[in-house]
């Protein structure tokens, strides 16, 4: 997996660079250069393969079932791009070493640059489309870091975010596109995609696939109307701009056009979409570039324009146009990188990039000026420079297409674009290096350090040699790259500075002349532009969009999430109603079944009437809280009564005990709460609530009726049959609780223990002001512990404990059990608190009931674990009958131990809750301070 290695080297290098930066600024630059060289070196041995006509594909499984593998491809196109990325990358590394100032972190810069480089390399070397997308998104992310490198600058942050948002948009669209493409082809491997080209273009999903993929391409390559992020990305340090906007980031988009050209091009949809966007971008970029006063702004729009040109070429769908596209990719990379670097030198040396202030720099930096002039000439398409060659091919192809279509609009438009390119190139040179004297520069410019110019020199030389002797230099590389792009034999073309006096050459001459004319007339043009089109800024709608998103989000969230509990409860009830009611609308099931019910009797009727009235009273008087509490007591009592009536004595006992403890709890709480609730809801709200409450009530009643009126089959028989022989108890409910479903009970006591522990945690540091009198303002009675109550309750304690033991022990066979016994014990002790006070009671019993909980849970759990010793699952119970003299035969069951655990937890938790709550105002800070 050499290719994987080549991609990984920069990523690993990023970490290395970051580490190296701790040891000095230069070291990180050297490390970065070393890393880049290493990546180059790793690819070098393979470089011969494409030239030998071979495509190297290396694969490794990642998620094979999903078609996502680590798959790399080295063909001519990939090689060309890898060369550009690493070659220009190396120059950038060198350049940046001198560009960055002492305030700038070298480590961070180079680490991010390496990440970006690796990501780019990943894109161009990918064989698998999803893997390509992964690297694609990584370039977005790492470029975000690079663009926002000068994070203290607002425009850097904004520019980075905008670039990320726009390219992110494209990335997500492209993911969809690739998924569709993979769906059509049945594979994400490029080889398979190429092989299915005809199938793809004929597929009904072709157009959506194309649209989604092009969204990715156009955003990345800054094609109209997604071009606007690119100028804002100029807030990055110039080495970043030079790298991202010449050979790499924006080229990823056109790379993908080239990559997918064999699979997707050649349809009308492709033609109109791609060439349309390309042409629009070409014209727009060329036009706007002229009017930018910022050097980098000019270059940015020029980049946009050239990317449009390349896009247009691929859009034309002819093999020759595609070859021209690949060629222009190379040429643009070289002259644009050098121009950006030159602009960086100027900025670096003169302290500004504003062309209205930069004038006559020829006198200060003639060497740099010469380099810039050559590069700018290449950009303008001046003969004997590389830019001229690809532009000629472009013009020729435009003419060729025009001949096919019988319309001369395209040649006219591209010539106009060419003219503007000439004009802004002249401006770049003339405005900066000549045009009088500099205006108010922050520093006096001079030539940059030797090593800072070297990268520019290398690139400018390349522009020259390619322009003069293309056949000897770039031709082989272009051939393999173009062949890989076409995935077909190359068309007939000829690389030479001179093709004779043909239409394309005429167009070039016209463009040069017209461009010069435009430059001469620039002043009125600038005025006209700035009064009109120049005021348009894509950032305005973009910002409006983003701000609109944020505002909408905030409105939606605030509207929905008001922080109101009532709304949440309301929504829950509403949702439950919708879910519960919906199935009945199908209308196939009757609400009532045919089961015969029990007859009504007077007692049940009166009890039910009392319950309903008490419920109504509780609701009606909910603001008179004490009264509501008393009526709630009636409800609980009648519910217990219902349990008794319908053969559930255990439930009745439990409900009764819980009922009382709950009332005590509520009373303890009510002491610290307002005795009378304030009127807090409007009549309308109460009406709405009443309606939904009644509907919910009707719903549950209907549900209950629907079930009760139907017969059912139950597993109950098993419990009744096995309770005694298998569980050793005759109280089937208790046997279920401690044996058949003892696990539930273990959970249940854990809940209780948790409630106790949670409450203790909650009450920590809580202090509440104790009211001095009741709601009517009467002071409390002076007698805290009425003697008669105190005496009698003390007498009752042993009795109650005896009853508790009785209930505990008999639970297995008769109504009762650990829970009820626990509550009786707890209540018996609570009455002591009630009658005698906390201080008195604490002197007579351990005030910390947490050990009880620990013991209880422990006993219950270990009873369950003990069954392991007998090779049985957790909680397997056992029982036996023992006969003792005098006492006689009695039963011993492990379930009883379990029930003892339950008992202890209940006592512990209940006592803990009630006593902590009862001593709440003693824990107040005032008391503590007094101690």
């Amino acid at each position: 997996m050499t290719l994987l290695l080549a991609v990984l080297i920069p990523f690993a290098g990023a970490a290395l660079v970051a580490l190296a930066s701790r040891r000095g600024r230069s070291l990180s630059a050297w490390t970065a250069a070393g890393v880049t060289l290493a990546a180059l070196a790793s690819l070098a041995p393979l470089a011969a393969l494409p030239f030998a006509g071979e495509t190297l594909i290396q694969q490794m499984d990642w998620m094979p079932a999903l078609g996502l593998n680590l798959a790399f491809r080295l063909d001519g196109l990939a090689l060309l791009f890898a060369g550009l990325i690493l070659g220009i990358g190396l120059l950038i590394v060198l350049y940046a070493r001198y560009y960055l100032s002492a305030h700038d972190s070298m480590g961070r810069f180079y680490a991010c640059l390496m990440l970006f480089m690796g990501s780019m390399l990943g894109i161009v070397l990918s064989e698998n489309l999803i893997q390509l997308l992964i690297f694609w998104e990584l370039t977005s992310l790492s470029s975000f870091l690079l663009i926002s490198y000068w994070q203290h600058r607002a425009e850097a942050r904004r520019g980075a975010r905008m670039a990320l948002a726009v390219t992110g948009l494209g990335g997500f669209a492209m993911l969809g596109g690739f998924l569709l493409l993979g769906h059509i082809v049945g594979s994400y491997e490029l080889s398979d995609v190429f092989a299915s080209a005809g199938h793809i273009r004929a597929h009904p999903l072709y157009v959506p696939t194309l649209l989604l993929i092009l969204a990715g391409v156009f955003t990345k390559s800054a094609q109209f109307p997604f071009h606007f992020w690119l100028p804002h990305a100029m807030a990055a340090p110039t080495p970043v701009s030079a790298y991202l906007h010449s050979a790499t980031m924006v080229k990823a988009g056109v790379f993908l056009l080239a990559r997918l050209w064999p699979a997707l091009s050649g349809t009308p949809a492709w033609f109109w979409l791609v060439s349309g966007a390309g042409l629009a971008t070409l014209l727009l970029g060329a036009y706007v570039a002229l009017f930018k006063h910022d050097l980098k702004g000019l270059l940015a729009y020029s980049t946009i324009s050239h990317l449009g040109l390349i896009t247009l070429l691929f859009g034309l769908s002819t093999p020759l146009a595609a070859v021209a596209g690949v060629f222009h990719i190379i040429n643009h990379a070289t002259f644009k990188a050098s121009l950006f670097m030159a602009a960086g030198i100027i900025d670096h040396e003169a302290g500004t990039r504003d062309m209205r202030r930069l004038n006559g720099l020829w006198q200060y930096m003639p060497h740099t000026a010469t380099l810039a002039m050559v590069a700018a000439a290449a950009m303008a398409g001046v003969p004997l420079l590389n830019g001229f060659l690809s532009k000629e091919m472009f013009f020729a192809e435009a003419v060729h297409i025009a001949e096919g279509h019988g319309s001369w609009l395209l040649p006219v438009l591209v010539t106009a674009a060419g003219a503007f390119a000439v004009a802004y190139s002249i401006r770049f040179i003339h405005d900066v290096f000549f045009n009088g004297a500099p205006v108010d520069l922050p520093k006096t410019p001079h030539e940059p350090p030797r090593w800072m110019k070297l990268p520019v020199e290398i690139l400018v030389v390349l522009c020259l040699v390619v322009g003069i002797a293309p056949a000897l230099t770039v031709a082989p590389l272009l051939a393999v790259a173009a062949e890989a792009t076409l995935q077909a034999p190359l068309p007939d073309y000829h690389l030479a500075p001179w093709h004779g006096f043909n239409a394309a050459f005429v167009m070039s001459l016209v463009a040069l002349a017209l461009g010069a004319a435009i430059y001469v007339l620039r002043r009125p043009l600038v005025a006209w532009h700035e009064a009109g089109v120049g005021r348009l800024d894509a950032r305005v709608p973009y910002d409006a969009l983003v701000n609109g998103l944020v505002a909408t989000a905030q409105r939606v969230i605030r509207g929905f999430d008001t922080g109101s509990l009532q709304r949440q409860v309301f929504l829950s009830v509403l949702a439950a109603l919708a879910l519960g009611v919906a199935p009945w609308f199908a209308g196939e099931s009757p609400l009532s079944g045919g089961r015969a019910g029990l007859p009504l009797d007077a007692v049940s009727l009166s009890a039910a009437a009392a319950l309903i009235a008490a419920t109504g009273a509780t609701v009606w008087w909910h603001r008179q809280r004490f009264t509501a509490l008393v009526t709630l007591g009636v409800v609980g009592l009648v519910v217990s009564l219902a349990f008794v009536k319908f053969s559930a004595p255990d439930l009745a006992l439990t409900q009764l005990s819980v009922e009382i403890v709950t009332i005590v709890l509520l009373l303890l709480a009510l002491y610290f709460l307002p005795q009378h609730g304030a009127a807090e809801t409007s009549r309308a709200r109460a009406g709405r609530d009443a309606v939904i409450a009644l509907v919910a009530g009707a719903g549950t009643a209907a549900l209950a009726w629907a079930v009760l009126s139907r017969p059912y089959d139950t597993i109950a028989g098993y419990y009744l049959d096995n309770s005694k022989p298998g569980g050793g108890g005759t109280n089937v409910v208790n046997v279920i609780l401690v044996d058949f479903r003892g696990y539930d009970t273990l959970g249940e006591i854990t809940v209780l223990a948790l409630a106790g522990l949670g409450i203790v945690a909650l009450l920590q540091n809580l202090s509440l002001a104790a009211p001095r009198g009741d709601a009517a303002g009467r002071p409390w009675d002076a007698d805290a512990h009425p003697v008669i109550m105190a005496t009698l309750t003390r007498l009752l304690l042993p009795l109650a404990l005896m009853v508790a033991v009785f209930i505990l022990l008999r639970g297995h066979n008769q109504p009762g059990g650990g829970f009820i016994a626990g509550l009786i014990t707890a209540v018996a002790l609570i009455v002591q608190y009630l009658a005698n006070g906390a201080a008195w009671t604490h002197q007579r019993m351990a005030s910390d009931s947490q050990p009880l909980i620990a013991w209880g849970l422990g006993i219950a759990t270990f009873t369950g674990l003990a069954s392991w010793a007998f090779d049985h699952p957790f909680l397997t119970s056992t029982f036996g009958y023992v006969t003792w003299p005098v006492v006689g035969k009695f039963e011993l069951a492990s379930a009883m131990a379990f029930d003892l655990g339950v008992f202890l937890v209940v006592v512990g938790a209940t006592l803990m809750i009630l006593t902590r709550l009862g001593s709440l105002h003693h824990a107040g800070p005032a008391r503590k301070a007094a101690r």
Binding site: I788, T791, L792, R794, L799, M802, R844, V886, F890
Partner: protein
């Protein structure tokens, strides 16, 4: 003896209670009841450190007899008063000066009063010397006070407090 069986009376009472709870008289129940009756007082003794001593069992028996009769009588009386209608009632608050001093005796007196003819003990003064009693239908408050003192307080004093004061 005292150390191992601190509350013989309570133990006996609890054993009996156990037998009542189990609702059966068997050797096993007796043993377990006695065991619990012996153990539970250890746990609760701190709530009731002093022993309850009954000095005149005969007086107690007689008191209980009077009490039982009075309950039944009182209930019939009150039932009659209720059925007769509310208009004819002559409710009154009377204050009973107490000769009893111990909490237990006072409490028992108060309860006795509450359970017997037409009277409910409503408030014990903070100095524990006066018991406010509400009556349902009384024409002669002084006679009522006298009756309470003679009929209930005196025997209670005898049973629980004689020799202490």
């Amino acid at each position: 003896m005292r150390r191992w069986l601190p509350h013989p009376l309570l133990t006996a009472a609890l054993t009996l209670l156990w037998l009542l709870l189990v609702n059966a008289l068997s050797a096993g129940a007796l043993v377990l009841g006695a065991l619990l009756g012996w153990l539970i007082p250890f746990a609760t003794s701190r709530f009731w450190p002093e022993r309850i001593r009954i000095r005149h069992p005969g007086v107690l028996a007689r008191f209980l007899g009077v009490f039982a009769v009075d309950i039944v009588r009182g209930s019939f009386h009150v039932a009659w008063l209720i059925l007769k209608g509310p208009a004819r009632l002559r409710p009154t608050f009377v204050e009973v000066p107490l000769a009893l001093t111990t909490d237990l005796a006072i409490s028992l007196l108060a309860n006795t009063i509450s359970l017997t003819p037409g009277t409910v003990s409503a408030r014990l003064s903070a100095d524990k010397r006066t018991l406010v009693v509400h009556t349902l239908d009384t024409s002669d408050a002084a006679a009522l006070v006298a009756e309470i003192k003679q009929r209930y307080e005196a025997p209670l004093k005898q049973i629980f407090e004689e020799g202490d004061a």
